[in-house]
């Protein structure tokens, strides 16, 4: 096993990886940009390295700087987390070339799966169903428009190098096609440095269901069951659960086998995820493979009892996967909510500011993954996800109730968050029934407003108590004298220092 691992990431995922390493007796090296100098991942690590400028390209995305520092501190391996360099084949290659183990698959597999067109072709060869679409290398607008019309509407425009909903557009009618292609290309260029897109048939009311994979360097490949990730806004997941309410033992068996076949077909190693789209008739289609740890991995850990990060480390260090497919059992039900600094009543706009208070809910089977704390400043440099909240219970209903309890006790003051929104989604009758698709938020929460009900009485009472406790007598006099014609002058209960 490695003696020292550098974690090329920040936030909750860096914290989670550092803890796993420390439990295994591995020394950890955090990296950080100037604005993250006091961030929790830096505080908890055994060593830390300042990468300087907070602009991602200068720090968390700076391959040369990270490799140079890893060598300097003699880190034997680098864990990339998710996002940033996690799916960058050049980074995996640079690690390899410097004699550092990249904790993930080979650069070749990352590159292949990063090209959504080639990925689909390869996976289709392994007899895994894929969605009809245009994956050509002709990327001029007229060709894309022509191919788009062939597929018909609605259709999807997606960045070839994409992920996380960036560079993705749904086109409902022909007249929108050109603008959507252009805007998707622009976003793709900015996010991935590559403006290539592909088109595919748009499946109405689909579910997003993915399978977790673990594969070692000795030919063992297993899956750890599904995660239902249909609850999305802006094409990004906000609530994930497992098991999926739509899953049957038969479908699970089929999709699990397809996932293992897909991973095997590309020679996959380490932890990865096969994303499928499932339509209303339980047909499933391969969408893409995420060649890294997923944000939502905790729900799989909760229901299988397996620590995915520790297995990533073991597999990367060359150990054999001693877990066999039949050893993996799915028990109970788990839910994850992503806590975002964003305003759900205003288009999920990110919110920036200093966290005046963070106080996490605590209880049996409540897991908090967080990379922020009281006094942390949420800047616009990075993703607005503050934390993840994961719960598990004996069944889905209890899991939902536990999550609602936990969200009701989740305190984040200083930025606008999606906590109240998440509660409303979980408590929606259709969510409780498990009737969810990737359109759920749009269908039921299009015009949601947190504040339409006004200030509750309890809040008014709390404010009154607080201000009564904190108001000085002089201040009261000032208030009183401010306006001699104030109606308060005539109120009978006025009394002071009696």
């Amino acid at each position: 096993m490695f003696k020292k691992v550098l974690i090329a990431n920040r936030g909750e995922i860096a914290v989670r990886i550092i803890k796993a390493c420390q439990e295994m007796g591995i020394r950890t090296v955090a990296v950080y940009s100037e604005v993250d100098k006091h961030a929790p991942h830096v505080q908890i690590a055994d060593e830390s390295i300042n990468l300087g400028d907070p602009t991602p390209s200068e720090s968390y995305l700076n391959i040369a700087k990270i490799i140079e520092n890893a060598n300097k501190v003699h880190a034997e391996a680098i864990h990339p987390g998710y996002g940033f360099l996690a799916e960058n084949p050049d980074f995996a290659k640079a690690c390899l070339d410097s004699g550092i183990t990249f904790i993930g698959p080979t650069p070749e597999v990352i590159r292949l799966m990063g090209d959504k067109i080639e990925a689909k072709k390869t996976i289709a060869h392994a007899h895994v169903p894929v969605i009809p679409g245009y994956n050509g290398i002709q990327q001029d607008i007229p060709t894309l428009i022509k191919e788009g019309k062939k597929i018909g509407f609605p259709l999807l425009v997606k960045a070839t190098a994409g992920g996380g909903g960036k560079g993705m557009r749904i086109v409902h009618k022909e007249s929108e096609l050109e603008q959507c292609i252009e805007s998707a290309k622009r976003e793709a260029k900015s996010a991935f440095g590559n403006d290539s897109v592909f088109l595919e048939q748009y499946i109405d009311k689909p579910r997003h269901i993915e399978f977790q994979i673990l594969a070692d360097h000795h030919g063992n490949v297993i899956h750890l069951f599904e995660r239902e990730c249909s609850i999305q806004r802006r094409h990004q997941k906000i609530i994930e659960e497992t098991p999926s309410p739509v899953m049957t033992p038969d479908l699970r068996e089929k999709m699990g086998k397809a996932a293992v076949a897909a991973a095997t077909a590309v020679g996959y190693t380490n932890a990865g995820t096969i994303e499928f789209m499932v339509d209303g008739n339980q047909n499933f289609y391969f969408m893409e493979m995420n060649t890294r740890l997923q944000v939502e991995h905790p729900i799989t850990e909760a229901t299988t009892g397996i620590d995915l990060v520790k297995w990533q480390l073991r597999i990367a260090s060359g150990q054999e996967l001693t877990l066999k497919q039949n050893d993996i059992t799915q028990r109970g039900h788990a839910l994850e909510c992503r806590i975002y600094a964003e305003d759900p009543s205003n288009g999920f706009l990110p919110s920036i500011g200093t966290l005046e208070k963070v106080d996490l809910p605590n209880g049996p089977n409540i897991r908090n993954d967080t990379g922020v704390e009281t006094n942390f400043h949420v800047s616009s440099y990075y993703d607005p996800m503050l934390a993840k909240l994961t719960v598990n219970a004996e069944n889905r209903e209890e899991s939902i109730n536990k999550m609602i309890w936990a969200l009701s006790h989740y305190v984040v003051i200083g930025v606008t968050t999606n906590i109240s929104f998440l509660k409303k989604v979980l408590d929606h009758p259709e969510f409780r029934k498990g009737n969810i698709t990737t359109h759920f938020i749009n269908d039921y929460f299009h015009d949601w407003l947190i504040t339409k009900e006004g200030l509750p009485l309890d809040a008014l009472i709390a404010l009154a108590v607080y201000d009564s406790l904190h108001t000085q007598r002089q201040e009261i006099v000032r208030y009183k004298e401010a306006d001699p014609h104030s109606p308060w002058q005539h109120v009978g209960r006025w009394r002071m220092g009696v």
Partner: protein, 170 residues
């Protein structure tokens, strides 16, 4: 125990609505009047800002923090931003000119209009990128672009005016 009654009159503003409250304190008892109802509660501040308030047989748990201008009230998973205002000289609620102010701090990707040009409602004026997402500033009405304040690659801060548009009379 020797502490006498202490009455405070307060106005809170929340989402353009104003709430008038009277609160009288006697030791740890509070008599709160709001909307012609009187509520008697027993309360204590357990640690700074953490209140435990007994109203009848119910315990209200709340956390209050004081920002620069606003108070944040945490109740049962929701947070309300409230401003304490004086009854006299109260400022009118400032009505934002909606969509022409930047909703986010970020980088301008492109400005899609020129000064003097005619635009239609919902035409894109500015594209801003922040946290790896694109935000569009659209025209709130038909009109003429009088002024644009940003160009490609400019840094823009939340709340800054992006453009001025002379509204076309119907």
């Amino acid at each position: 125990m020797a502490d006498g009654g202490l009455t405070v009159f307060i106005n809170y503003e929340h989402n353009t609505h104003v709430y008038n409250i009277t609160v009288e304190r006697r030791d740890n008892q509070f008599f709160i009047t709001y909307d012609n109802n009187e509520y008697t509660v027993v309360a204590s501040e357990l640690k700074p800002g953490h209140l435990s308030i007994q109203l009848g047989d119910r315990i209200i748990k709340s956390i209050i923090t004081q920002g620069e201008e606003d108070k944040f009230v945490f109740i049962d998973g929701s947070i309300f931003k409230v401003k304490r205002i004086e009854l006299t000289g109260r400022k009118k609620t400032e009505k934002r000119e909606g969509d022409l102010h930047s909703p986010i701090s970020g980088t301008v990707v492109s400005c899609k209009v020129k000064e003097g040009s005619l635009i239609k409602k919902d035409d894109v004026i500015l594209i801003i990128e922040a946290m790896k997402m694109e935000y569009l500033i659209r025209a709130p009405y038909d009109g003429v672009v009088k002024k644009t304040y940003f160009k490609e690659k400019d840094q823009i801060e939340i709340g800054q005016l992006t453009a001025e548009i002379q509204k076309q009379e119907e």
